[in-house]
């Protein structure tokens, strides 16, 4: 296979990881809403943890995106 072609295929494969991170972030906010609707008075206190979990989860998707970008542009 032509190396340039392989690079683009590899970048596409790496981008699948961002979809996996999307599942994680969706799960996170879904579970948070579920808990928040059951006990709305406690929800505000957990906002910091929600955002922290979001940032940590989203970072893993960003790692995959980073690999895709590195393959494309370097």
């Amino acid at each position: 296979m032509d190396p340039a072609t392989a690079k683009f295929i590899g970048a596409g494969l790496a981008a699948i990881g961002t979809g996996a991170a999307a599942i994680g972030v969706g799960n996170l906010f879904g579970q948070f809403l579920q808990g928040a609707l059951r006990n709305p008075s406690a929800a505000d206190g957990q906002f910091g943890r929600l955002i922290f979990g979001f940032a940590v989860t989203e970072a893993l998707g960003i790692f995959a995106l980073l690999i895709a970008f590195l393959l494309l542009f370097t």
Partner: protein, 248 residues
Amino acid sequence: MPDPIHQFDLHRILPLNLGGWDVSFTNSAAFMLATVLLSTAFLVYAMRSRGLVPGRLQSVAEITHDFIADMVRESMGKEGMKFFPFVFAIFMFIFVGNMLGMIPGGFTVTSHIIVTAALAALVFVMVLVVGFAKNGLHFLKLFVPPGVPWYVLPLVSLIEVISFLSRPVSHSVRLFANMLAGHITLKVFGGFVVMLLGAGSFAVLAPLPLLMAIAITALEVLVAFLQAYVFTVLTCMYLNDALHPEGH
């Protein structure tokens, strides 16, 4: 399409050579200096009146202080307040550095792994030094979680040691990758606008990627704050391990 990596290039502003080492003053160093000067100047200027009833700027400075102070107190307890200046300096440096990078044409110091790796290594070495200085060999209890049966203990300890050693890697790469990928995404969408404008009748579609670029800019401002916050929270958690190795 314009090269989206170009924005991370280093330029020598003031070429310097010290005994064979290239210690030139680069645009990265200039932005780091600007970050330090800006945050110092802001805090000094905002607190100049030392009013009992804070003015507008003074309350911003006080809110920032209380935000980090609460974080340190929650994660490390009262004795952790010794580390407050260190944690506050790390937060201010990363946050202001990220925000300076959001200015179009600016340079993001945290988008280079060497900068974030140096910060993470500083935290890692600090955890080791403080942990051994304060607890002696009891610091190694960190790798022996309580309540684990003896026959799985070797395996659990091995996993704990590996996770401890991989901390500085994930700690630095998280911040670096977020800033790098975010800024590349911005540039890629900016490139789409230029490409569509040059594509004849397709130019009518050009506002779409422009809107997307604006939305991503807003997201990036959020990410710039969040990643500074996450880096600081993780610093607090790691330092807490050094202070209380048994209760984790």
